[in-house]
């Protein structure tokens, strides 16, 4: 199938709306993606035609809903190439998945054990581990990064030892767009017997990770960054870990038998899915994955790389503009500042021109502290963005610069 961006844009109703009198140019895809009609339809279809609680009803609707929900899990398994469908745990999103793993490790870690995280983590990736360390007496170590926004691998290797129990790194940095060498990170961690959790919140809309090939222990992501709904995500965990970790929350769905003397837990994945799940969210996530695969990740990557290259060139033409995150491996995110101008001011002016970008510290204050800046303006591109939209951005930023300096 050839890649036709105009045809793709027609699938997204929101992209035809106007903002402040200008056509919307949506460049905040790293925060959340827009939704194609196919995903919206799957939500409407579910609530219109077969809404029912799953896994326990004998009636037809319940069976249909259960089948659709489990078919989505299967689809996700295939997409990420997990070995088993039950290694895919449905969650409320990336943060939920991280907390689930952190909670599990609170029973495993001992005083003096070490957890390694990277210097370019999102706040939601730092706080759960700090809490875990407070609780268990484990120690948090940080892999530093260089001026380009790339992790210093040799420093990572120095941090690894037999004390390392868990390594936690994002696949792609949300603030800088850097793609981390997770394959090498996982391999090195496994050599000292440490488990690895990868945060794929920023990666899965751009690339298709092969979980078996990566040999990763845990992988988390969110549906809403991949054209799916909010409040939905997955935690992949290797079956052995699934059996080892204790349940996270108690409730319906996660039990096998209950009496007041003893409760036995259900097997994977239900052990970690207490309560009525986000049924519609799971089904819509499946629809989103179908949609992305129909376009194809090769085509997506190619188009986004073009956008990145063009945006980098166009923005660097503006005098005094500096881009943060300039490593060789990066995704379609351009984080920048203009000398002497606050990112918030630029964001405000370009919004008035219909352009949605993110400003601020992007929930990654340690990165901002590293560069000694209050924040950046971040334009993040998706496969449905166009080169003309990059032009609109560059023009708006120039206008903002003119007004603000």
């Amino acid at each position: 199938m050839s890649f036709d961006v105009q045809k793709i844009r027609n699938d997204f109703p929101i992209l035809s709306r106007k903002v402040n009198g200008y056509p919307l140019v949506y460049l905040d895809n790293a925060a959340t993606s827009q939704k194609p009609q196919q995903v919206i339809d799957s939500i409407v279809d579910y609530y219109s035609n077969y809404n029912a609680n799953i896994h326990r009803g004998v009636h037809t609707l319940s069976q249909e809903a259960t089948d659709a929900y489990e078919a989505a899990r299967k689809k996700i398994q295939t997409h990420f190439n997990a070995k088993e469908a039950h290694e895919i745990i449905f969650t409320a999103g990336t943060t939920h998945g991280i907390n689930l793993v952190a909670n599990g490790f609170s029973e495993i870690l001992k005083k003096g054990d070490e957890i390694i995280v990277s210097a370019m983590e999102h706040h939601s990736n730092i706080v759960p581990w700090q809490m875990l360390c407070e609780k268990t007496g484990a120690i948090l170590k940080v892999i530093p990064m260089n001026e380009e926004g790339v992790l210093i691998f040799s420093e990572y290797e120095k941090l690894l030892s037999e004390k390392t129990k868990l390594v936690f790194v994002n696949h792609i940095s949300n603030a800088l767009g850097t793609i981390n060498p997770i394959e090498k990170i996982i391999e090195k961690a496994h050599r000292v017997g440490a488990a690895v959790l990868i945060d794929g919140a920023q990666s899965c809309s751009h690339i298709k990770p092969d979980l078996q090939k990566l040999k990763v222990d845990f992988y988390v992501t969110s549906a809403h960054k991949m054209c799916g709904p909010t409040g939905m995500g997955i935690l992949y965990m290797k079956e052995a870990w699934g059996n080892k970790l204790p349940p996270y929350q108690g409730g319906g769905e996660m039990i096998a038998e209950v009496s007041f003397e003893k409760t036995t837990y259900a097997g994977l994945p239900h052990k970690f899915e207490a309560g009525t799940p986000n049924i519609c969210g799971g089904i819509a996530f499946g629809a989103a994955i179908d949609y992305l695969n129909a376009i194809g990740f090769e085509a997506i990557e190619k188009h986004e790389n073009e956008l990145l290259k063009y945006a980098t060139e166009k923005l660097l033409e503006i005098e005094g503009l500096k881009i943060y995150g300039t490593g060789p491996d990066k995704t379609s995110v351009v984080s920048f500042n203009i000398e002497g101008i606050h990112p918030y001011d630029i964001g405000t002016i370009v919004d008035k021109l219909g352009i949605a970008v993110r400003t601020g510290h992007h929930c990654a204050q340690p990165i901002m502290d590293f560069y000694k800046i209050p924040g950046t303006v971040r334009a993040s591109f998706a496969f449905y963005n166009t080169l003309e939209e990059v032009d609109a951005l560059a023009k708006a930023v120039k206008k903002a610069k003119l007004m603000l300096s």
């Binding site: 918030y344 405000t348 002016i349 008035k352 601020g360 924040g375 603000l404």
Partner: protein
């Protein structure tokens, strides 16, 4: 000048502009002319929470009136503060407490009024009113 009169004056000034760009340019100018807060008053306890940019607000009592000085590291935010300082500074605490803020809508800056807006215009007004309340309580005691 009363708060109401200053507000009327601002509405008048802003009514001269045809579009948002002119309004913003004027606001940026106002921001540049803001009498700056003393460097040594830019401390963390003077920071207003809820702003994406840094906003320092200082207040002091002089002859029964509150004098506000402020600064920000973002110029649009500075423009907003300049407007607020012009309206609320050099006024009696009770007058500040009684004042409404409908003029912000009328000068075309309504979008900054949303409580979830990251520039914290609402937080700034709240902080100014808090100072007024504190001084008012002092006066009564």
């Amino acid at each position: 000048m009363t708060i109401e009169a200053i507000q009327e004056e601002l509405i008048d000034e802003f009514s001269m502009f045809d579009d948002w760009m002119q309004r913003y340019e004027y606001m940026i100018e106002l921001g540049k002319s803001l009498p700056l807060i003393d460097e040594n008053l830019k401390t963390d306890d003077k920071l207003i929470k809820g702003c994406q940019s840094k906003v320092w607000l200082n207040s002091e009592m002089k002859d029964g009136k509150i004098i506000f000085t402020a600064d920000s590291d973002a110029i649009i935010t500075k423009g907003i503060i300049a407007i607020l300082v012009r309206v609320f500074s050099d006024q009696k605490p009770q007058a500040i407490l009684d004042a409404n803020t409908d003029f912000i809508d009328e000068i075309g800056l309504k979008e900054h009024l949303s409580p979830t807006r990251a520039n914290g215009l609402v937080s700034m007004i709240k902080q100014m009113k808090m100072y007024a309340l504190a001084y008012q309580t002092q006066i009564k005691n």
